[in-house]
Structures are given as structure tokens and as C-alpha cells.
Point group: C2
Chain length 317, copies 2
């Protein structure tokens, strides 16, 4: 059963907006549910169709995701593709009881980070992906199971990461039942050479099936890494509006790669995104208003597209 | 006479710090001469050796460059390679009377911009390069004449720019006597695909002789463009400390590509820069102190190099 068809077409570039999940993970000023839904709505109006909208985690410890059911209902009203983080069986159970369309599991690339962050081995994390896929098969067979390999391009505990290990883990997740795998530069360690090389390996692993590259701009390499990923077969890129989201291991650091700038990048490289940069400004405005004191990043929104932007998405003024 | 040998070795990457020239062009708060010399000194301590330190322009209209002679003396004391903008014969005369090591002439890639900005045709601008080279031959034959092609990757007046025209103009500048040519994304229009394609053409034009790629981060593509340039044979990159310098055609926009981030990029791609990122922080500190209210950019300086940065330049702590 190819659950990706029509959702993640392999012949075009899909940008996943993770600001409402990764972008809120470390946020100090949390937006209201109404503001988050308006944020979804304005991005939808700009052509965005793929979102991580929250995590299935205990509301008491993660108040930023307490409204995930309202976010799912809003997503369904708009016909968006919604994804939510499911880090354990309880999270998967909760997710399966909702209309969320994609469940995102996480496997660490290194044993040290897996033990420290998840308190389980990497093998156990891959097994959990299999369990979530089986639970999905039994109760909601249409949902996509996505397995992301964290620290795939450098680890805050172990330093260098062997790309062969990453590809092995990604393959194991696919074998366990994941529909889709992703590789994440969780702490923004990599430059474009490493990202390009890993994406080339992932392209060989996945064949016609798309994979996700999840990028952080912690050291300013985000857009360069996205370019290297596109050059090496990646067709699904995670980014957050205004580059929201910091880095748990580098206080004050910048967050995910900036969504707006990645739209411009992809279009400049000849990949149509279907996203209207002008209209994205409205989404940014509501997010900035709803998260006072939070730092927003990116350059494109200040300058606007260039005069020669004949590639500007359909629908732009 | 190969004036570039030892100054711009073709077998390694040279980063030119243009913050003291391009970075001050639109600045509101101008640093004192003492602060600028301390900025040079701290960058020198971090391993930076190539600088644009000002422009030979009327001091009354460009007070930020009124102290260029003091900057040249300080550069000579430190043994740095100093470059200054010479936009007309009067500027070249002034430059030739000093110890500046490199004179930078500018030719616009488009006729419209050449007429509007320089009030001369592109042919006349190329002729001026020849005149400056002849004046240099007559009075100070050791100085480098550098000709930069502005708007080489998109023009704020004409939009798209034909790369063949850019290469033709660059070739004409070399024929006229320039030692070194450069291509500039003056208004930050380009993405990495266009930058890579132009650099590949410039590599074919210049052969073993290096050329300069001058990048602005106006739309967030600066680091990605630097990566594409390195991938396509560029070995000399202009950048400014903290991404100083705006864009005359996009008020509030970001400036040159961030020097610190380009150091990290180059090192991550396996090109040794000889620059110590940790020590660059000291230079940034004096620049920030000397230019209150000015916006400084970049991500690397917040997070620091990653744990696995075994490439860290010699001399780093």
C-alpha cells in the first residue's frame, strides 16, 4: 500500500512546515490555539499543504501541544496534511484515536544520544517504529508512519556520525513498516558536503520513494544544506516559518532552516513549490504577533523576491 | 608579471573581509578610526589577511572613508593585503600615491545600471580599467588592479543578466590590464544554481588565475551561493564580518554574506581558511561596540563550532 502517492509525490518538491511543532518546542511565548489555527489558515492560503502541528505528549509537561486535537480538527477542515510526533506507544495510541494523517517516530543515529534522550537503545527505537506501524495497520491503515533519524549529521554527544549507520537505521525503519524515513541535522552540525553525501546515499536507499531532510540553521548552513539536499535527490524538506525553534544544545542559537528562504531557494533552482512568498508574509505576521519576544529569522521577507523572479509561484500578485 | 602569486594562491581558499568598505557604505553609526584599526588587528590575530579597507572617494560626501590613509598605514604595519575602491581616475591617482596594495575598479554588468550608477557606458568603464592599469604600470607597478563586475547575477534595473555578457566583460577587463576580476551578486538576486553556473564559466575564462565571487545575503542565499561557488572553482570569496552592509535597493535588507559563516562553510567543505573562528568573536565584539544600533547577522557566532569540528583552524583553543 503506497500511502505516499498524491501526498508526497516523488516528482516535485514538498516543503513541510514544522514551526508549529519543532518551532514551539523551546518557545517561551506560546501562541494561543486561535493564533495557531490562523497561522495554519494563512499558510494554507499561501499554498502550504504539509505541516507538523504538534506532539502527542503529556499536556502537563508540554502545554504548547495540549491543543493538538483542535489543531487536527482545523487541519481537517482545511484539508491539510497534518503530522504529529509520537515518541512512544502511548503517543501512538493517542494519535490513532484522532484524524492526524501522519505519525512521526524518532530514532537516534547514535547509541549515546538514544540512551540519553529516549532511554532506549536504537534497536528498541526501530522496534517501536514497527509496533506503531502494526498498531496503525490494525486500527487506521491509511495513516502514514514516518521515522526520522535524529542526529543523522552530527551528534551533540558523540560528534561525528557514520552515514552508513544512518542509512542502515533508515533501512531498518522501512523494513519495520515505516512508509517514509527522514534524516535530521538536529543540532545543525553539517555543511553542504556532508548533507549532499548523505542525501545521495538516501536516494540510493529509497529509490522512487521520497525521504525527508530535516535541517536546522544553528550554524548558518541551513539554506546551503537544503541546496545540497535538492542537488542530491531530496524532494521533501522540513523548515519552519521565520526559522522558529532553537537548539536544545546551544542556548540562543538559531532554529530550523527558514521556510521562506527555502521556498525562494527551491524556486531559484527550478523546483516549483506552489507557495506564494508574498502571502507567506501574512502568516509570519500572525506568528510574530502571537509570539512576542521570540526571534524570527530569514532574509527574504525583508527584501522580497527580486525583480527577475519570473518563477514566482502562480497566484502571486 | 604575476602580481597574484603568494597573494591569491590559486590552490587554496582566500576570504576577503569587505566589512570595512562594503559594510560601512550604508552604515548609520560610523566607527572611529581607532575602532576600525582595532577591528583589523583582531581579525589579523584570527588569521584574516585580505581586506577591503575603504574607498578613494571625496571625504566630504563619504566620511566613513575619510581615514583611508590611516587605515592603509595600519594595514602596512600589520603586513595585511589592503584593497580600496577606485571608481574614477581621481580615485586611482589618490590610491597610487598611497601604499594600498590593490585597487578595485567596478564595471556594471548591464548598460542600464552602468549609465544610472556610474554615468558612463560599460565600454567606458572597461576603458577606465585599462587607464588605471596603465597609470599603475607607470608609477607603482607592484599594485594589483582588480575589476569587479557589479550586478553580475541580476540587476535591480534590468532584472535578468546574461552570464555570457558578464564573462565577456570580465575577459575585456583582463585584456585591458586587470590582474584579477570578480563577479558580484550586488543585490542578492541569485540562488546557488545561477552562482554555480557563472563560476563554472569564470573558471573556464580565468584558468589558473583566481577570480573573486562577491556575495550579498539579501535573500538568505549567501552561504548556499558561496558553497556553489566553491563547488565550481571559485577560490576567493568576499564576505563581511557579521554580514554588515545593507542593500541600496532594498531598505532594511541584510548585507554581505556573513564572514564567520563562510569560514565555517569553507572548512566544512574541506578548504582550509587559516581563520580561527573563536578569535573572530573578538573582532565582532569591537565592531558591535563601535557601531551601536547596527544590525549584525549570522548564526555560527551564537552556537560556536560543533563538537566534531576536527577541521578547526590551527591556533584555535
Amino acid at each position: 500500500m503506497n500511502r505516499l502517492e498524491g501526498i508526497y509525490p516523488s516528482d516535485r518538491v514538498t516543503l513541510r512546515e514544522v514551526g508549529l511543532r519543532d518551532g514551539l518546542q523551546l518557545a517561551k511565548a506560546l501562541p494561543s490555539t486561535d493564533a495557531k489555527i490562523e497561522w495554519l489558515r494563512r499558510e494554507h492560503a499561501a499554498g502550504v499543504r504539509h505541516y507538523e502541528i504538534g506532539s502527542f505528549l503529556p499536556a502537563a509537561r508540554f502545554p504548547q501541544f495540549a491543543d493538538i486535537e483542535a489543531m487536527i480538527r482545523a487541519s481537517e477542515d482545511m484539508g491539510l496534511h497534518s503530522a504529529g510526533l509520537t515518541l512512544n506507544e502511548r503517543g501512538a495510541e493517542a494519535a490513532l484515536a484522532t484524524d492526524i494523517r501522519e505519525m512521526v517516530c524518532v530514532v537516534s543515529a547514535t547509541e549515546a544520544h538514544s540512551q540519553a534522550n529516549m532511554r532506549r537503545s536504537r534497536d528498541a527505537a526501530v522496534e517501536l517504529v514497527g509496533k506503531v506501524a502494526a498498531m496503525r495497520d490494525a486500527t487506521a491503515p491509511g495513516k502514514i508512519v514516518n521515522a526520522g533519524i535524529a542526529m543523522a549529521l552530527g551528534c551533540s554527544l558523540s560528534g561525528d556520525v557514520n552515514p552508513e549507520e544512518v542509512v542502515r537505521l533508515a533501512g531498518a525503519c522501512l523494513d519495520a513498516g515505516a512508509d517514509l524515513v527522514g534524516v535530521a541535522d538536529t543540532v545543525g552540525y553539517a555543511g553542504p558536503k556532508a548533507v549532499g553525501a548523505l542525501c545521495a546515499r538516501m536516494t540510493r536507499l529509497c529509490g522512487d520513494r521520497p525521504f525527508i531532510i530535516h535541517l536546522h540553521d544553528t550554524r548558518g548552513m541551513g539554506v546551503a544544506n537544503a541546496a545540497a539536499a535538492l542537488d542530491n535527490g531530496a524532494r521533501v524538506i522540513d523548515a519552519s516559518l521565520g526559522g522558529l525553534g532553537g537548539c536544545p544544545f546551544a542556548p540562543g542559537a538559531t532554529g530550523n532552516v527558514v521556510f521562506e528562504d527555502v521556498v525562494f531557494l527551491a524556486e531559484s533552482m527550478g523546483f516549483a513549490t506552489g507557495i506564494d512568498l508574498e502571502k507567506l508574509k501574512d502568516a509570519r505576521a500572525i506568528a510574530e504577533e502571537a509570539m512576542p519576544g521570540e526571534e524570527f529569522h530569514g532574509a527574504l521577507h525583508r527584501a522580497g523576491p527580486p525583480k527577475n523572479a519570473t518563477w514566482q509561484a502562480v497566484g502571486a500578485a
